[in-house]
């Protein structure tokens, strides 16, 4: 079932409207303060209320365009992202005194978009979907799709072209007026990039992010016509008219299937006014709903974990989009992730390069190690590369470079190092792990099927890698935290579920829960080791917090604790250790 997107009421930002808001507030205060009122006053009050409501209503239509104007379009580019994240912020990292302090004091910065129960409530960035209520196979496969993709029955028209090396792309319109952007596979890897777009976008959607609709479209040249006004920025960098001859020249490098059809990933242009990208740090001050610095958003930090699962390493500002949409007449800024051609075993130029997901684009740490080892330290990606016979397509051209050799959830790296990803805490990772573990084998297969890989064994390979990787992430994430869930308090008995046992990573026999009961002053009232997921809080009314450490015999990982806050005999909060 599709969860409803959050509705965000945006405040009018114009000074006039602010003063109006203040007046309205004063008005309400006055009304509340005076009671009971004589009849005349009641009339007056009614009149004033009516005037106030009319005035507020009158400003609403004004407030939307004013807000739309205030939200400026933010731009970036690959090289700007590269410079900012990989050069500038890496260099000025410790000039932020708060960051320097945290580094010296070994403190973590807790995510701020979490509620009392350590979960991320729905927001403009994230909507709880599959983890909240498992989606059916049909819902997973549908993803954010509003339709079946471009309608080729009456042909389609290319409105604009985009050419990048040997990789063309076309903006099209179908006979139903739907606008799409078509992207293709690389010459030597039919199905690779198009399936990555389709599969990864659906995973991100099911997880909880806003993504555009991606569908796989197949067509012949006969079904395509070019609008007279169509232009293209070709490899000369100059805008030119897109002629039939030029179009055929570009499409020459696009691989065709055995029946001579072209296969494309069709991204439906989402509705809304494009406001550019969203930043991975800071926030849009003009958006009153954007209250938390983005590097403190768990939803954003956890992209590193979701990226590691899906092999998506090109998570950067350039692959995001902010869209100003109207929700029941109110302007809302929605934050989208887009462009998933770098997911799974794919990259935008073909199979994923061997160093991707193991190193940042410029990796100072690994480069430093290489310098001082005089080239004799073998990087993990080099070992993996050797194991695969230095062949990017050792499995299949449609799968690309995708396996779990040397996969380590803790060491997964996106192309660019973002503060948000570096600030990921154990609590953030646990949250992401829980969501990933909510996908069953069948769920994964249902989504992989949407990649429409022609060989069933290719689909099975992708699914198997994802299933295996899910479990690797699950084991690691649950081992380094206290993955205790669904707490309940009945008759002074605190019970819970242990996700690591539920998912069979550990057994009950291997598990001990070390419990500290603490009073309001932080004083330890009692401690105990228990072996079952039920803790007797005793008769003391003093118990304020129950702090539980999960200890697994045979595990080398240092587990974090979970603090259950108990107030007035109720569970008032849950805090996983960062």
């Amino acid at each position: 079932m599709e969860m409803k997107e959050p509705i965000i009421m945006l405040k009018p930002a114009h000074p006039f409207k602010s003063s109006l808001r203040a007046k309205r507030s004063n008005l309400s205060a006055e009304i509340a303060a005076v009671a009971p009122l004589p009849r005349n006053d009641v009339r007056q009050r009614g009149l004033r209320m009516t005037i106030a409501i009319v005035m507020i209503a009158a400003t609403l239509p004004l407030s939307a365009p004013a807000f739309a104007q205030e939200i400026k379009t933010q731009e970036t580019s690959f090289f700007a992202d590269l410079f900012n994240q990989n050069v500038y912020y890496e260099g000025t990292n410790f000039l932020h005194l708060d960051r320097l302090y945290r580094f010296v004091a070994k403190k973590k910065l807790r995510s701020l978009d979490v509620n009392a129960y350590d979960e991320v409530p729905d927001s403009a960035f994230f909507v709880n979907r599959h983890a909240r209520k498992p989606l059916s196979a049909e819902e997973l496969a549908k993803g954010p799709a509003e339709n079946e993709g471009p309608d080729f029955s009456n042909g389609l028209t290319i409105t604009q072209g985009k050419f990048n090396g040997l990789h063309p792309g076309f903006f099209i319109k179908d006979s139903k007026g739907g606008a799409y952007f078509l992207k293709f596979d690389s010459e030597d890897s039919l199905e690779l990039q198009t399936s990555a777009d389709s599969i990864a976008s659906r995973f991100f959607h099911a997880i909880g992010y806003s993504v555009p609709q991606y569908t796989i479209a197949t067509f012949t040249l006969k079904q395509v016509s070019i609008a007279p006004s169509a232009t293209v920025y070709d490899d000369t960098g100059f805008q030119k008219k897109l002629t039939q001859e030029r179009f055929e020249q570009y499409i020459t490098f696009v691989p065709q299937d055995e029946e001579g059809r072209y296969r494309a990933s069709a991204r439906k242009t989402p509705a809304g006014e494009d406001k550019g990208v969203f930043r991975f740090q800071g926030r849009r001050s003009a958006d009153p709903q954007d209250k938390i610095n983005h590097d403190c958003l768990r939803a954003l930090r956890a992209l590193r974990v979701f990226g590691s699962w899906l092999g998506e390493d090109d998570l950067r500002e350039g692959n995001t989009q902010d869209l100003l949409v109207s929700d029941n007449g109110k302007p809302v800024l929605k934050h989208y992730l887009m462009d998933f051609q770098d997911a799974l075993g794919s990259s935008s130029n073909g199979a994923k390069p061997p160093m991707a997901t193991h190193e940042y684009f410029v990796d100072y740490g690994d480069t430093g190690k290489a310098i001082f080892s005089f080239g004799f330290w073998k990087k993990p990606w080099q070992k993996r590369w050797k194991d695969t016979g230095e062949n990017l397509m050792s499995v299949s051209p449609a799968v690309g470079y995708f396996d779990n050799r040397y996969f380590d959830p803790a060491k997964y790296k996106t192309q660019l190092p973002h503060y948000a990803f570096k600030d990921l805490t154990r609590a953030d990772a646990l949250w992401a792990t829980k969501i990933i573990m909510s996908f069953s084998d069948e769920n994964i297969r249902a989504i992989v099927k949407t990649g429409k890989l022609s060989k069933p064994e290719d689909s099975e390979t992708v699914a198997k890698v994802l299933i295996e990787r899910r479990d690797l992430i699950g084991k690691y994430g649950f081992e380094t935290s206290s993955p205790l869930e669904d707490f309940s308090l009945q008759n002074q008995l605190l019970s819970f579920k242990d996700l690591a046992i539920d998912h069979k990573f550990w057994t009950t026999e291997q598990t001990t829960y070390h419990v500290d009961l603490v009073n309001a002053q932080g004083k330890n009232l009692s401690s105990a080791d228990v072996h079952s997921p039920t803790i007797d809080l005793g008769s003391s009314a003093e118990v304020f917090d129950a702090v539980i450490h999960t200890v697994r015999s045979g595990s080398k990982a240092q587990s974090a604790h979970v603090r259950v806050q108990i107030r007035s005999g109720r569970i008032a909060g849950i805090i996983h250790q960062d």
């Binding site: 970036t76 700007a80 009392a116 960098g237 403190c296 990796d363 480069t367």
Partner: protein, 442 residues
């Protein structure tokens, strides 16, 4: 009344139901996905400004770079530059840009007339090109070449060649291995070369060339505030430096070459073997007459992987005067500096360019190159090197104690094995030198 009582009961029941969880404290179910109850506490804009204050001076630098990069991508600036470069290349004009040092660029262009006249397909073996290079206070070079490669598909080739070059700041420290760096002099060298080549090149790797040429070398006063001037100190007529006023020479040269390197500038495998022998005869008032022997051997070894390469090189040169004539100082073996091309002083990186001059020279270079980072065709390698060499008059003067050593480290970034930037630091007896280059010494 009954109605009122009924309403009161309903109200009471509703209140009781709403208040029941805290009262009974038995069922503690909660909404895990409840919205945020209050605005999270985080640093205010003012606090954040204070905490990030040390970064702000750098932000002034970041902002324009960020905006420029966005502008470049949005307006396809790189594609336009690439297109201009490619289009010029197709029309036979290739712009050239080389970094000689951090503050000095070599700007130039090469014109391929066969391409410019759209005759490349018709005459694929015809060579007709010209070039011009300029680096302020360093070099001006202009030349042309006309010839045919693979005459009738046989591998024989012939070329005519003209070049004029001027070096306004050539340095000279005296002749011999014990010259002093304090005795540095500066002069200007102008050289005009006319040459005819007849050769045989059966394949890409092998060649045997015979060259006949005329060379006019003019020596004049150079300018460098920190150096002694031409015609002063040891650098004057009375000191017996041969060739002080320049020379006109006829050159007869034979050169055999075997080049199996995979990339001339940044090789990972193969090697170069080159042997040259020439007879040089002075014309008119020149007293020069000598034989020049040159030998260069280099090889590149992969150490288990192409990411670790050991490059070794040996170079030897001997100039032997005949019939009581002399070898002009400007044609002698020269040692010191970064190297890079045949016309330059040989590689001894911790010493200055042209630091040692004599009739003979040997130099050995060893470089261990290992990969630090790579992404598709981009690579950054580290290099650890040792150069050792000496100049000497005759072979009986070749002494191991006179060898000058130079060692150092560097980092090189390349794209598709073409070096884009090389940063090197070399240390030796006379101090430390730093290099910023767009090439490798061998």
């Amino acid at each position: 009344m009954k109605q009122k009582s009924f309403l009161s009961i309903i109200r009471f029941t509703a209140v009781l139901l709403l208040a029941s969880p805290p009262l009974f404290a038995q069922d503690s179910s909660y909404d895990k996905y409840a919205p945020l109850q209050s605005e999270p506490k985080q640093a205010t804009l003012f606090e954040r400004s204070l905490l990030h204050f040390p970064e702000y001076p750098f932000e002034i630098l970041r902002y324009p770079v960020d905006k420029s990069l966005v502008y470049m991508e949005k307006h396809h600036v790189m594609e336009k530059i690439q297109w201009v470069y490619d289009t010029l290349g197709k029309k036979g004009l290739t712009p050239k840009l080389n970094l000689i040092s951090l503050a000095r660029l070599d700007i130039g262009a090469e014109v391929d007339f066969v391409r410019a006249l759209h005759q490349k397909e018709r005459f694929p073996d015809l060579v007709a090109d010209s070039w011009i290079h300029f680096a302020s206070h360093y070099n001006f070079n202009v030349g042309s070449r006309l010839g045919v490669e693979r005459i009738g598909g046989t591998g024989f080739r012939t070329q005519g060649y003209f070049q004029y070059e001027t070096h306004p700041q050539e340095h000279f420290y005296g002749i011999g291995p014990h010259s002093s760096r304090g005795d540095g002099y500066v002069y200007k060298r102008e050289e005009t070369n006319l040459q005819y080549l007849l050769g045989y090149k059966p394949d890409v790797a092998h060649s045997l060339d015979f060259k006949f040429g005329y060379r006019n070398v003019h020596i004049a006063d150079g300018r460098d505030g920190s150096m002694g001037r031409y015609n002063s100190g040891i650098f004057n007529g009375s000191a017996g430096i041969p060739g002080l006023h320049g020379d006109e020479l006829l050159v007869y040269k034979t050169e055999a070459k075997r080049d199996t390197r995979d990339q001339a500038g940044n090789s990972t495998t193969g090697g170069l073997q080159k042997f040259g022998f020439s007879y040089n005869q002075g014309l008119y008032s020149s007293n020069a007459e000598f034989f020049k022997y040159e030998m260069e051997l280099s090889h590149y070894f992969k150490l288990g992987t192409p990411r670790r390469v050991l490059g070794i090189r040996a170079y030897g040169e001997h100039n032997s005067e005949t019939n009581g004539h002399s070898v002009p100082f400007h044609q002698m073996a020269r040692l010191g500096g970064y190297g890079m091309s045949d016309q330059m002083s040989e590689t001894l990186r911790a010493y200055r360019y042209n630091r040692f001059t004599d009739r003979s020279m040997v130099v050995f270079n060893v470089e261990y190159r290992y990969n630090l980072w790579e992404y598709r065709d981009w690579k950054t390698d580290a290099v650890v090197f040792l150069d050792s060499g000496q100049v000497f008059k005759n072979f009986d003067k070749l002494k191991s104690k006179n060898l000058r050593e130079s060692y150092g480290v560097g980092i090189r970034t390349s794209l598709a094995n073409v070096v884009l930037l090389s940063l090197e630091m070399a240390h030796g007896d006379e101090g430390t030198n730093y290099y910023v280059k767009t090439s490798t010494p061998f």
